[in-house]
Symmetry: C2
Subunit: 209 residues, 2 copies
């Protein structure tokens, strides 16, 4: 597949969305979709979609549109979703537990291997089948297991320390849910999910509609 | 405050971030910050920050920088965070419970009044002090209570029906956590948080670093 290294963040944000809609179409039993229908469904213009997909070689056929299953597989492969990812989650509070459960079950290929906690009441338990270990054991665990992604659900004050430990232990990606941003070394991918930012944007739009 | 109605989504996304950093500075006891320091902290250029704030009248002083508390208060007011928002949450599963708890306690001014569920085992319970009611009572509850925001944490198949009910019941904003997008009438604000999109972007960046 021809590949362009300068693909914008906006494109990479749209690909999972395209993929979600393609999955729905597959569930509905649709084999193909015209670029016009796909545009209506996703809310992006047909030309935007074509341009996005052209970054990876383009997949539509003039006068036919897109083959749903093929495009789904191609986008999955572009996103790296044809692989399996091993994850650890640090911070097994409410949000951490929900995420471990959510990720473990609803995203094939993303496996939460272990939850790490400092709370002695949780250590040794299993949360939805996932072992909870002492945070003090994190570095050793990372040495002994090849882990791809670290999820951080601690308080914001511990976020950076946890990120440092995870990166030193060899994770290639950090999914950060703490309220503040964390720094990661070059070569480690980072996605921040700031739930309160999203809520605050919502408040703005409500007041300015 | 002079106001520009055509403020881009990107600006509105950055404001909560500025506010988070200002809050940190307040906690550290800092009264003022130069535009250069603030740029370093937030990761945006000083000119970007100035341009963003100029949409609302601008607040810095040449040669002084920003008064931390004043700018925090101004941004809070722009975002509508000087008000109180009443919320209901539909779907009290793992993620819903975590969000109810998270939002209720960590965001002053955002109050979860009630959780609505279809699962009879949860109905009648309290989750972190918040009542769980039968989803069948949602419309009546909305008639009797003035609710600003509806949080949707159901499966994606119920998402649209729940959104319709919430909007018919008069909410002004929808915070959607289902896997698919929902449609809302003109005049209702919508924020989608697609956790799996974020995870899939992370996978892409890990494979393409």
């Amino acid at each position: 597949m021809p590949k362009n290294d300068n693909i914008s963040k906006a494109v990479i944000k749209r690909l999972p969305r395209y993929r979600r809609y393609l999955k729905e179409l597959m569930i509905e039993g649709k084999d193909k979709i015209s670029s016009k229908e796909f545009s209506k469904l996703t809310g992006y213009t047909a030309s935007q979609i074509r341009q996005d997909l052209n970054n990876f070689g383009g997949f539509g056929q003039q006068g036919y549109g897109y083959n749903v299953k093929d495009l789904f597989d191609e986008i999955s492969s572009i996103l790296g979703l044809d692989k399996e990812y091993k994850m650890v989650l640090v911070g097994g509070g409410n949000l951490g537990q929900a995420l471990a459960n959510y990720t473990h079950y609803s995203n094939m290929g993303f496996i939460v291997e272990c939850i790490f906690e400092v709370n002695p009441r949780l250590i040794g338990m299993r949360i939805n089948g996932i072992k909870v270990k002492d945070y003090a054991e994190l570095s050793d665990f990372l040495k002994e297991n090849s882990i791809d992604i670290g999820i951080i659900c601690t308080t914001k004050n511990s976020g950076q320390e946890v990120a440092d430990k995870l990166c030193a232990g060899g994770v290639r990606g950090i999914w950060n849910f703490t309220a503040l941003d964390v720094n990661v070394p070059e070569g480690v991918a980072l996605e921040n999910v700031h739930l309160s930012d999203s809520l605050h944007s919502l408040a703005y739009y409500m007041e300015n509609k």
